[in-house]
Symmetry: C2
């Protein structure tokens, strides 16, 4: 055997492995499609019963789930994972209770499937009804937290969709244990196990195969950082919904109430700095800056926020400070000449997630809300409110920052499509 | 100079050309973005006035438009274009009247922008309102018919979007003349000319640059045949809406009224065989086949339809006959064992556009409408009804065959996104 043929053999081997993985993902998607046909026809009662049964099954398997999670935690510790990530990964009996409670909460939500969105009778007597139907097969790509595994399953099941889950390898034991419990419970409920499937995590190519399984997968929702989302959006041929990257701003207008401004800036920045609705940049109107700046800077520094900007005592700010999410107790600060500059800055650097204005002036509020192009625009309210549960959706599958299909927090209706059903009595269309 | 450097120079030259074209498309998109900010804030009255002014301008320029169109027609004739395509390309005074009337019709439609889709007051007093907003910058890629140029402009303007048009090179003189008229009219109405721009047609790479102008273009809608749509969907990084590929079926169920079946099959196939809602395959239930088959075959043959299938006297059918659109007076015919086989066939070969059942049996109709996964499902009605004007939308930008954002005929609301506007009085979110 020559070295050339060895290389070829290796390359063939690699291709075979690639092909196998691709085949595995496609076969999983085909099984999901078969399951989705059953799910699409279930009524709410059947789905709710299965959700409660799944909640019971999760509670019944708490020991096995936590044992599996311990393996993930130990492996993560051994590889030097930092405590904040360990905390995201960790399951406790209380967290497992919370996961089960989440399934029961979804059972309590209205079933979006079958909702009549609109309808009419045409002049010729044709009767049109537009109904919500499931999307079909939904892929979710997500990072560390294992509770997402069960949340995504619950929301998908309630909306009549089969789901393909691609979690992170760091949570693979936890996710495997959880999905095993869910699949067994589905079968016990008389529903197809393949309503939920976990895709292999060893190889990043799984994600590529999933997002390129056009015709087999109806939509892929990436949940994670900017890197994951950009990669998915760039390489996908399956329709995707961008979620969660939030470079959010609070603009303190010249007519702001400073007590309100201080509360909102602090809450927007410090409530949970690692989540997408946290504010990353503070814009202060120059008219109010002489009073507002020292007060807000003082309050933020008291809250241990590191400030970045061009002002004395701040860490010098570069382009990245305006453009990127810190997701930490850091905040960029800029004095702007007025609402036009504030809006222009947001348009240049924002990610169309959540933008807030603090003002007592109705004209400024109306101008800001109509001109700022974002999923959510807040007037005298914290950016932290952009969240499906806060918006009263009961649960969310993510926060869309794109303009098509869904924008902002996505609940159950955002996991559906529609279908026109047209009833005639032999109607034909004149030429 | 060595040949190597010549090649490099050539390659650089090609790259420069490529880069120039890419830059041209991106710059057009940036100008569109600037225009879109103005358009987004217009009220319906301002937009309607501009639409009527544009209609007047088109009528006033009828001679120049037809002269430009004559150049296209002569060039097309010289290159041996067939008469059906020439007819699609041709403008006459009556057709120009129709184009202007289309703009006035759009002026008469409800403005989707600003519509409150939903809203509520949360328990904490926060007031949420979800409003329709324009998408922003919309790209349309389309084929021969120059009327699409003006239709797309009108629908985009009414929905507050700037539009980038990439028509076919065969219509380039006509499209240039039309867009010149529209841009001049916009300026006369005090609106930005760059609300509508025609992209160069000489190079197919324009399409690639448009569909990859992520962040500059909000959505691209391809209107055309399967080849165009598949290429756009495959290469796009900008979100796209798939339109118009329709491999539609009529299923004649065992409980069909044969008079109704004959009318619907004939109308679905022969009304306009070249459009996407035409039926391409006839499925006949074997229980009714002994009576239905000879009658329907006779009627179709009388209408000069060539039948493809496995039955005596038909052109033998291969996989392509089931999978592809004929868009001509051809129809595939298959006898199926019952509703399960009919639905399985549609699922395998259909394009989720329009599917029809002919039956007097309510259980069969309900089963077909709930199990068939398509934008429109007809009961005892012709597939020809799937059309924005027929559905009462007044005008359509295309028929979506995807599940995200829009499904079926797309009118003005489908050219919008939404924005949550949240009003507080200093609200912060508890930890």
């Amino acid at each position: 055997m020559t070295s050339g043929s060895t290389i070829d053999a290796k390359r063939d081997g690699a291709n075979d492995g690639e092909q196998d993985l691709r085949g595995d993902v496609h076969n999983a998607a085909r099984r999901a499609r078969v399951a989705s046909r059953t799910l699409a026809l279930l009524n709410a009662e059947q789905k709710n019963r299965a959700l409660h049964a799944a909640a019971d099954a999760v509670l019944g398997a708490v020991d096995a789930i936590i044992a599996a999670n311990n393996h993930d935690i130990e492996r993560a510790k051994a590889s030097g994972t930092e405590e904040s990530l360990l905390d995201r990964l960790r399951l406790t009996p209380a967290r497992v209770d919370g996961i089960a409670a989440g399934l029961r909460q979804v059972a309590g939500l209205d079933d979006p499937v079958g909702e009549v969105v609109q309808g009419k009778t045409l002049p010729n007597g044709l009767e049109l009804v537009q109904k919500r139907v499931p999307l079909g097969v939904v892929g979710i790509v997500y990072e560390a937290r294992p509770n997402v595994t069960v949340d995504a399953f619950g929301l998908a099941l309630k909306s009549g969709n089969a789901v393909l889950l691609r979690g992170s390898s760091s949570a693979s034991n936890s996710n495997t244990a959880l999905v095993d419990v869910l699949r067994t419970s589905l079968v016990d409920s008389g529903l197809p196990a393949d309503s939920v499937q976990l895709l292999p995590t060893e190889d990043r190519a799984t994600v590529t195969h999933l997002i390129q399984a056009r015709g087999l997968v109806d939509v892929v929702i990436p949940r994670g950082g900017a890197g994951l989302i950009n990669a998915v959006v760039r390489d996908a041929t399956v329709p995707t919904i961008e979620t969660g990257v939030g470079n959010c701003h609070v603009y303190v207008h010249s007519a702001a109430d400073l007590d309100i401004a201080e509360n909102i800036v602090l809450n927007s920045k410090t409530r949970r700095p690692s989540v997408c609705n946290t504010a990353e940049t503070l814009l202060i109107d120059e008219q109010i800056a002489p009073v507002a700046l020292p007060r807000l800077v003082g309050a933020l520094e008291d809250a241990e926020v590191t400030l970045h900007g061009d002002l004395p005592g701040m860490v010098a700010a570069g382009e990245d400070d305006w453009a990127d999410e810190y997701l930490s107790l850091d905040m960029a600060v800029k004095v702007v000449a007025g609402i036009d500059e504030a809006i222009a800055h947001i348009e240049k650097y924002g990610t169309s997630h959540t933008e807030a204005i603090v003002t007592a002036d109705i004209a400024a509020a109306r101008e800001f809300t109509s001109r700022v192009d974002a999923a959510a625009v807040m007037v005298n309210a914290s950016t932290a409110f952009t969240d499906g549960e806060q918006f009263g959706f009961g649960a969310e599958i993510g926060i869309s920052t794109q303009k098509l299909h869904a924008r902002g927090p996505m609940g159950l209706p955002e996991l559906t499509s529609t279908k026109w059903i047209v009833w005639g009595q032999g109607h034909t269309r004149p030429v």
